[in-house]
């Protein structure tokens, strides 16, 4: 099976974020980056399918040069080769790149890069941890003219195509059968994520990483939905923060829970 996995590099979950001076995005200088976790699950599923059925796993990612480190990580975990849609030099704004595209624009870029590969399966994570738009996989399916399913925890290859396990709300699931080629948006938690081995990291350096300039893909940014401003959230409740040493805070909390909240 030939599988393309679309992955995204996002700010590391634990990295502190600051709003940039223009108020339109976060300050990216000195930020730590990581592979979007749902995409890591998509990659893991692809690698396991390849181990079972053979074939090839191609990772695809769009973004500026820094994205290369996340692509290398995917190659080190076992992907065979990679395509990097380089988006540094597009549109206005310093480092703007992908930010000038909305979800449809980014999916168009990815779709153009996927088409010449004619994969049997395209996998993405369900959502990104930064923008959280939850739609790249579904739009990709529409643009590629393929059937899709989202919130997928498990993929089984059948004679007719695929049988997948889809998560529903409140602890329910369903199976979906579909023909190949197809697009799946993977939910977290279906597999255990692997770490890259030293050998894997070494091998990754020799694997093919093809850079494609976004401009060559013939997709215009032309967003219909624009992020105009970002801001810190307002508190919904007035939280009493308890300070001091761990012991002092703990003692104060117990007192509050007993006498104020009366829940102990």
């Amino acid at each position: 099976m030939k599988i393309v996995v679309a992955i995204k590099q996002v700010p590391d979950r634990d990295a502190p974020v600051r709003i940039a001076a223009d108020g339109k995005w976060i300050e990216e200088r000195e930020l730590q980056w990581a592979m979007n976790e749902p995409d890591a699950y998509a990659l893991e599923e692809a690698l396991q399918l390849k181990e079972k059925h053979g074939g090839e796993v191609i990772v695809l990612s769009a973004g500026p040069e820094r994205v290369g480190s996340t692509i290398r990580e995917a190659l080190a975990k076992g992907a065979d080769r990679a395509i990097h849609i380089v988006c540094d030099d597009l549109g206005a704004g310093a480092g703007g790149g992908l930010r000038n595209f909305d979800a449809l624009g980014v999916a168009r870029l990815l779709a153009e890069a996927i088409k010449p590969e004619s994969p049997d399966l395209v996998l993405t994570g369900l959502q990104s941890e930064d923008l959280g738009l939850c739609q790249t996989g579904v739009i990709l399916a529409e643009l590629l003219g393929l059937p899709h399913a989202t919130l997928i925890l498990h993929v089984e290859k059948t004679d007719a195509g695929l049988k997948v396990k889809r998560e529903l709300e409140e602890g329910w699931f369903q199976s979906i059968e579909m023909p190949l080629p197809a697009v799946l948006a993977m939910q977290s938690g279906g597999n255990k994520l692997r770490y890259a081995t030293l050998m894997g990291i070494k091998r990754a350096k020799t694997k093919e990483l093809r850079a494609v300039n976004a401009a060559e893909l013939g997709v215009e940014a032309a967003p219909v939905a624009t992020l105009e401003q970002i801001s810190a959230p307002k508190k919904q409740k007035s939280t009493q923060m308890l300070g001091g040493s761990a012991k002092e805070a703990a003692t104060a909390l117990v007192e509050k829970l007993k006498t104020e909240a009366r829940v102990l």
Partner: protein, 324 residues
């Protein structure tokens, strides 16, 4: 401009989330300009329910192939409906089902879904969360064509959507899309549960819930000791269950259980919306997290910004001491 509101059903009734989406639609247009849409193979009961609310019109999108949800069936049927009209906005509840097809439907019309919206300001400007709730973003739609919006659970109040007084029910129209079985490429099964749920967190009085901050399963005894001292049930956020450190049935959040105990103590949980929707109805919320800007503190009554590996043992001792 008119608004099309796509309702979703749950157990044969219009879901509460759908009424919250109607409350959001009221922010965009007066009631008489809102068309509520119900979809299925038999929609008369749903339509009657919708017609009794404050909407201008109800459209039944009905076809035998819409009996079970499929992305292909729903996208095709709604696309045909929308093409015959020109709504300013199309509003959905932000459910798993909507996330599965609305982006494709929007794409078919050269549009993008502005999803998981938490607020609507004049403009309209749509607010949604970024970076797992650490920041908010305001979005604006531009260009021709309808603006697709889905509304986050709990963001709008459903109790404002009742009709005033004894107003007559809204008129109901039938729309029959042209669908062909061959166009529906996926075959879904009936929903199933993995196993009978043995842990009912919904009835717990006190819950100690743990998140990524715990770093590894080997550190869970710290949390178990605190829960033991408090006489509390143990729960967790999704990543803990994804990693297999705790069983899935102890997961709180949109994909797990919804709880509302007297005391909810969140340890090392940052507070992504998927978790918050499952616990924000708790009477008293306590958060312990090393990041003072973590979104969990936005819903907490009491917070300790500190290292859980120091705070939790101290708290366990303080709880034990208070009981003596």
């Amino acid at each position: 401009m008119s608004v099309l509101l796509v309702l979703e059903q749950s157990g044969g009734k219009v879901s509460r989330l759908s009424w919250e989406a109607l409350a959001a639609a009221h922010r965009l247009a007066p009631a008489q300009e809102i068309t509520a849409v119900v979809i299925g193979a038999e929609t008369d009961a749903l339509a009657a329910e919708a017609a009794a609310k404050s909407v201008g019109k109800v459209v039944r999108v009905e076809h035998p192939l819409l009996k079970t949800y499929t992305a292909d069936g729903y996208s095709k049927a709604l696309h045909q409906l929308i093409q015959g009209q020109s709504p300013g906005q199309i509003v959905f509840p932000h459910t798993y089902q909507v996330r599965d097809y609305a982006p494709a439907l929007a794409c078919r019309m050269g549009q993008v879904l502005i999803g998981d919206v938490t607020g609507i300001a004049d403009g309209p400007v749509f607010m949604r969360q970024l970076l797992q709730g650490r920041l908010n973003g305001s979005y604006r739609h531009s260009g021709n064509g309808p603006c697709f919006v889905s509304v986050q659970a709990g963001a709008f109040r459903a109790d404002s959507v009742e009709t005033q007084g004894n107003a007559a029910p809204a008129p109901i129209e039938l729309f029959t899309p042209a669908l062909d079985a061959a166009q529906i490429r996926t075959v879904p099964s009936e929903p199933f549960r993995e196993s009978a749920q043995t842990v009912d967190l919904g009835s717990a009085q006190r819950i100690v819930s743990v998140g990524r901050g715990i770093k590894g399963a080997e550190n869970l005894p710290l949390i178990e000791a605190l829960a033991g001292a408090l006489g509390a049930e143990l729960a967790a956020s999704r990543p803990i269950c994804d990693n297999g450190w705790m069983p899935m049935e102890r997961q709180v959040g949109s994909s797990g259980q919804t709880v509302a105990p007297k005391l909810y103590l969140a340890v090392g949980i940052s507070g992504a919306i998927q978790h918050l929707v499952g616990m924000k109805g708790s009477q008293c919320i306590v958060a312990i997290n090393k990041d003072p800007d973590a979104p969990i503190f936005e819903v907490a009554d009491y917070g300790i910004a500190g290292d859980l590996f120091e705070v939790v043992p101290a708290l366990t001792e303080a709880v034990k001491a208070a009981k003596q």
